[in-house]
């Protein structure tokens, strides 16, 4: 029996498998007390994405980021080890890192002159005599998150010292991540040019939106219908993909709250005039990985949600993460994955594909932002207390990718972390039910 304290967040979700009803109380998007609890119970109990090793070119290369609310330095130290250090002087708390990116030989706190090497060790304390022999330098390095691990060059940190390994946490999402990182002929790296933007909306609205096929034909009509036609691509193909209700329109849930939608890929609009670029890539990849795997990589479209806030989308070859600053405001960071040795033509097409849809000036993202910000404004009508995410619960045989199963997956995980001890319902999508038979 759980004790019900003021920190209990019981009753915020209605998950009724029998009636086929799943609802989320809109307080989760507006209540500052919920955000405060999320910081500790959700973000501090997960693995959080920091960056990709390829972003740090050589010894001393650093990028300042905010991860899980903490100011951190993502750095490759003088011995080539990738680290995450808190950008906080242990002495009195000042920042030790100047600029947002660059190359450093040491980090200097300008407040009292304490200096640290790129491994975070304290290497200089002015007027150390003042401490007598009591100052223990080894205890006064720059702190780091208790856990740091990487998978395929993707670096994650966790604030929870006894967190399960990153490999166990990612679990069966790993083959999907592998496919995403191997989709290029050469090593998958992050392209220069980080998109940093924001939404005046709760962070969980973007989690819901990032693998939502249902909204595609409506919110993104101007891309999939208007823009795609100007490229000589057939919009009907996309419309069919987005609305597909067929068996190969899959959605899967994984342990720890992750989910993926995995659907037939529409033709990439940018390549309509130069399909031979992709044919050539397919040939090279097939030699390396075999036709079956290449078909998964090139003919399927995957939107992967890694709980709580990492999104990988294969069609746009993007990695995206986002953090709440306030209940109604989030900061978003997004990157493009490219092959280190992509031909200039292929790279230009990939960039075009990405930015024609995604990002602040794309023909997709701004309409998402407008929708999510409108939702957030709408929550002021407290009389309409519930958001409905039931689609697919009542579908014969189980949910498909254009249902809301993936949102229910992340919400069930969120609710379990907010209400420790709670055991969520087990729902199987159509493909999961079929594989279990």
């Amino acid at each position: 029996m759980q004790t019900r304290s003021k920190d209990s967040f019981d009753g915020l979700i209605v998950d009724d498998m029998e009636r086929g009803v799943f609802r989320v109380n809109r307080r989760v998007f507006t209540d500052p007390a919920i955000l405060e609890a999320e910081k500790r119970q959700v973000f501090d109990n997960c693995w959080l994405y920091v960056g990709h090793e390829s972003e740090l070119a050589g010894a001393g290369a650093f990028i300042k980021r905010k991860v899980g609310g903490r100011p951190v330095i993502f750095v490759r130290d003088d011995q080539d080890t990738v680290r995450v250090l808190f950008d906080v002087c242990p002495h009195r708390g000042n920042s030790v890192c100047r600029g947002t990116r660059g190359t450093a030989q040491r980090f200097l706190c300008f407040y009292h002159g304490w200096a640290f090497n790129t491994r975070g060790d304290l290497i200089n304390v002015p007027d150390q005599e003042g401490y007598g022999d009591k100052l223990c330098r080894s205890d006064l390095g720059l702190g780091s998150p208790p856990r740091l691990e990487s998978y395929r060059g993707l670096v994650f940190m966790s604030m929870k010292a006894d967190m399960m390994s990153l490999g166990d946490y990612l679990g069966d999402t790993r083959p999907y991540i592998d496919d995403m990182m191997d989709m290029t002929d050469s090593e998958g790296v992050i392209a220069p040019g980080q998109q940093s933007y924001s939404m005046r909306a709760n962070w969980k609205l973007l989690l819901e939106n990032s693998a939502d096929l249902y909204h595609g034909p409506f919110t993104h009509q101007r891309f999939f219908q208007d823009y795609v036609s100007t490229l000589g691509a057939d919009p009907a193909t996309w419309q069919k993909t987005l609305r597909a209700g067929a068996e190969d329109n899959r959605v899967l849930a994984f342990a720890n709250g992750h989910a993926v939608i995995d659907t037939p890929a529409g033709p990439l609009p940018m390549f309509a005039d130069r399909p031979e670029i992709l044919d050539e890539l397919r040939e090279k990849l097939t030699q390396k990985h075999g036709a079956e795997r290449v078909a998964r990589m090139m003919d399927r479209s995957r939107n992967l949600l890694i709980f709580p806030n990492l999104v990988m989308i294969s069609a746009w070859r993007t990695i995206r993460t986002f953090y709440p600053v306030a209940p109604d405001y989030m900061e978003v960071d997004a990157w493009a994955i490219v092959g280190r040795d992509d031909s200039p033509e292929l790279r230009e097409k990939r960039f075009g594909n990405f930015i024609s849809f995604l990002g602040p000036a794309g023909f997709g993202t701004p309409d998402d932002v407008e929708a999510l910000e409108n939702c957030q404004r709408g929550f002021a009508a407290r009389e309409l207390a519930w958001t409905d995410l039931s689609k697919g619960m009542g579908r014969e045989g189980g949910a498909l990718a254009n249902d809301e199963f993936q949102m229910r997956t992340v919400w069930r995980r969120w609710y379990s972390l907010m209400n420790p001890g709670f055991v969520p319902s087990v729902e199987k999508s159509r493909i999961m039910a079929a594989s279990a038979d």
């Binding site: 220069p192 924001s198 005046r200 823009y227 075009g352 993202t365």
Partner: protein, 163 residues
Amino acid sequence: MSTMDSFTRQDVEDFLFAEAALLDEFRFDEWLHLFRDDAHYLIPPLDVREASPSDSLYLVMDDMSRLRSRVQQYRGRAMWVENPPSRTRRLITNTRILSRGDEGLRVSANFVVYRMRHELVDPYIGRYEHVLVPHEGGLLFRERKAVLDLEALRPAAKISIIL
């Protein structure tokens, strides 16, 4: 290049001020006529502003075909983020002609573009780095580049208007 030499800073300012008016008044058809057919509209990434569009992820990298579609979308109903259109107001100052060469006039100017929507004001601050070419006694864009000074698009998130 006598035609190139004859343009003064005031000619360039007149061109940029007239362009700003077309955009603030949503006269996109006329605006598109200010571009040469091989022109580009570019916005570099905020963190590596000097990077080239061939190896870094620009925010905008439009050739004329994509730019025409961008404008066409403004007129359709499904550009939800600009339906109805946001109000905009552009201030352009510190105009300079940096060089005159075979490729055209290299021009720089500072800008602030305000976007007003939902009773919020989002300012976009930066510098234009245009390449202009003479055409029938006037000027045309060969490259129209808006380099933002913002460190991040926060809180202004959308470049759903032309900057």
